[in-house]
């Protein structure tokens, strides 16, 4: 999410040269802790604030206010020649943990599955591990199969999936190109299979999606308020798409 925050800050400074914005990374927890200590005005977070963080904030006389600024969805992709069109979260988890090793087991051709993943330092990797491999369960300790290929770039994943009928991959929705096939995903066998799109993510029907937040101290005023209002404009939301995120539907 730090890339998105940086891109927004950079663009906003071009429009309003009198405002100075500086963005630092370090993870959601770092940002929220800094907000509680009054050392920042806005904390970016790719997860919701925890109850214990709210308690700590209140103790420090801070009332954090939540703003959803963008959404993040992960698309699961396969080769266009792969007959598999839909998978449940459990099936994707079994494929990536190494329990399912052949496409025939999930309704495809008799081919060995080649698993592709982003590198471990990517936020997408961690989110996929927690929400898909471990199905969002806190005590689930499932790991990626050891022979999962870790590719350093989105281009690497797209190139291999578009060429290789064995491959399965995942990436931020905004990075998906037309030469791969996107799989419809269902939360479980009883639910509907949904293709990821700006609409399905904003309706919360696509299961591998999350909100991205900015937290402020109390209701924002002045320059901070103007900045957050700008983020909600179509111009700022268009930036989310170029970085692989999903813009929020503005009512």
């Amino acid at each position: 999410m730090v890339n998105l925050a940086l891109a927004w800050a950079e663009q906003y400074q071009k429009l309003h040269s009198e405002i100075r914005l500086s963005v630092t990374g370090g993870g959601s927890g770092t940002g929220i802790a800094a907000l509680i200590n009054h050392s920042v005005d806005i904390a970016n977070a790719s997860r919701q604030i925890k109850p214990e963080e709210i308690a700590a904030a209140k103790k420090n006389g801070v009332q954090p206010v939540e703003h959803v600024v963008a959404r993040d969805a992960i698309a699961v992709i396969v080769n266009p020649h792969n007959p598999v069109n839909q998978l449940t979260l459990q099936q994707i988890s079994d494929i990536y943990s190494g329990k399912t090793t052949n496409w025939a087991e999930v309704g495809g051709n008799n081919l060995v599955i080649v698993r592709l993943s982003r590198e471990t330092n990517s936020g997408t990797h961690v989110y996929f591990l927690e929400q898909v491999l471990r199905l969002g369960q806190k005590d689930n300790k499932t790991l990626f199969a050891q022979d999962t290929l870790l590719l350093p770039s989105s281009e690497g994943i797209t190139a291999e999936v578009s060429d290789n009928p064995h491959a399965i991959g995942y990436d931020g929705l905004g990075y998906i190109t037309p030469d791969v096939k996107v799989v419809a995903v269902a939360r479980d066998q009883a639910s509907q299979y949904v293709l990821p799109s700006v609409e399905s993510v904003n309706e919360f029907s696509y299961p591998i999606a999350r909100d991205l937040y900015m937290y402020t101290i109390g209701e924002p005023t002045g320059a901070i308020r103007a900045y957050l209002e700008w983020i909600m404009t179509p111009e700022a939301q268009a930036i989310t798409k170029t970085l692989g995120f999903v813009p929020i539907a503005i009512p």
Binding site: N121, E160, N164
Partner: protein, 298 residues
């Protein structure tokens, strides 16, 4: 007049001396820094974890064996390709090729050395890996073999140009003597010239391999980076994760001073030791060669 000249001369001598010593100082500083950042890992992570075969740092699995194995496999694979091809190319350029062919070949080998490894990596990911998968009927072309082929290309220029110099350095009298004995050209090359240049050729191979061990970008892009411990040469057809690729992929995001950070530096130390051993081996070969030359002259 004389005093100013003296003053200038001392200054210049001093500067040259500082430049000379600075290389040693830089190496020493880098070594100290590596040790300071890497050795704490030995205290923070149990040895049984470091020597296990699972590498998944975000969950504190720090098994370095798959990474060391990956680097060794890719290096051995690259050497098996680059050493024979490189020596044969050098023999052809130095001994067989007519003048005009030599004038075309030499610059081309040197251009090969100038290709950035990122460009090779792109070539690997878009052309080499898909072709390998189709031709060899593998599940994926992103394998140790793809990395070995690209690294063979990067180490070829070193092997060819240094071997070629060694072949040129063989005195003409050796060849004349062979011809006088009625030996064919092929026999001259195989039994006289190449054996006479063998220490130089060995050095060339060592330096080429040294370059292979440390190469990063191309392997990061084409070997698939799956941390599986290779069991033998057959695993050339499977993905591997090398030490350099691991450092390059993970160092950018790691928190300074964390356990993961220290382990990455520990990998750096292992890599440093491996290249040091290869370079020392090459140096000892050169040293032995010099002593032999001195013996002949005396």
């Amino acid at each position: 007049m004389e005093t100013t000249l003296d003053w200038k001369e001392t200054l210049i001598t001093r500067m040259i001396r500082i430049a000379g010593y600075s290389a040693i100082i830089f190496v020493a500083l880098i070594f100290i820094y590596l040790m300071r950042e890497g050795l704490p890992a030995l205290g923070e992570v149990p040895l049984s974890n470091l020597l296990s075969s699972r590498w998944y740092p975000i969950e504190n699995y720090f098994g370095m064996l798959p990474l060391i194995g990956g680097t060794l496999l890719v290096t051995i694979g690259a050497s098996l390709i680059a050493v024979p091809v490189g020596i044969l190319t050098a023999v052809f350029i130095a001994e067989i090729a007519p003048q005009w062919a030599r004038e075309i070949l030499k610059p081309f080998v040197e251009i090969l050395a100038g290709i950035p490894s990122v460009v090779l990596g792109f070539f690997g990911i878009l052309i080499l890996a898909p072709d390998l998968r189709r031709v060899l009927d593998l599940p994926t072309g992103l394998t140790a073999l793809a990395g070995a082929l690209l690294l063979a290309v990067t180490s070829l220029p070193t092997i060819v140009s240094i071997s070629e110099d060694a072949l040129y350095a063989v005195p003409k009298s050796f060849r004349d003597a062979a011809v006088a004995l009625g030996v064919t050209r092929w026999q001259t090359i195989w039994y006289v010239t190449v054996p006479a240049a063998r220490t130089g050729i060995l050095t060339a191979c060592m330096l080429g391999i040294g370059r292979t061990v440390g190469e990063t970008m191309a392997v990061l892009m084409v070997t698939g980076n799956a941390a599986i411990l290779p069991k033998g040469l057959a695993d050339l057809f499977a993905p591997v994760r090398t030490m350099t690729a691991t450092i390059a992929a993970e160092m950018g995001e790691v928190a300074t001073g964390s356990v993961h950070y220290h382990v990455l530096f520990l990998i750096g130390i292992v890599l440093f030791v491996i290249t040091l051993v290869v370079n020392l081996a090459a140096a000892s070969v050169i040293f032995r060669q010099r002593k032999r030359a001195e013996r002949i002259l005396s």
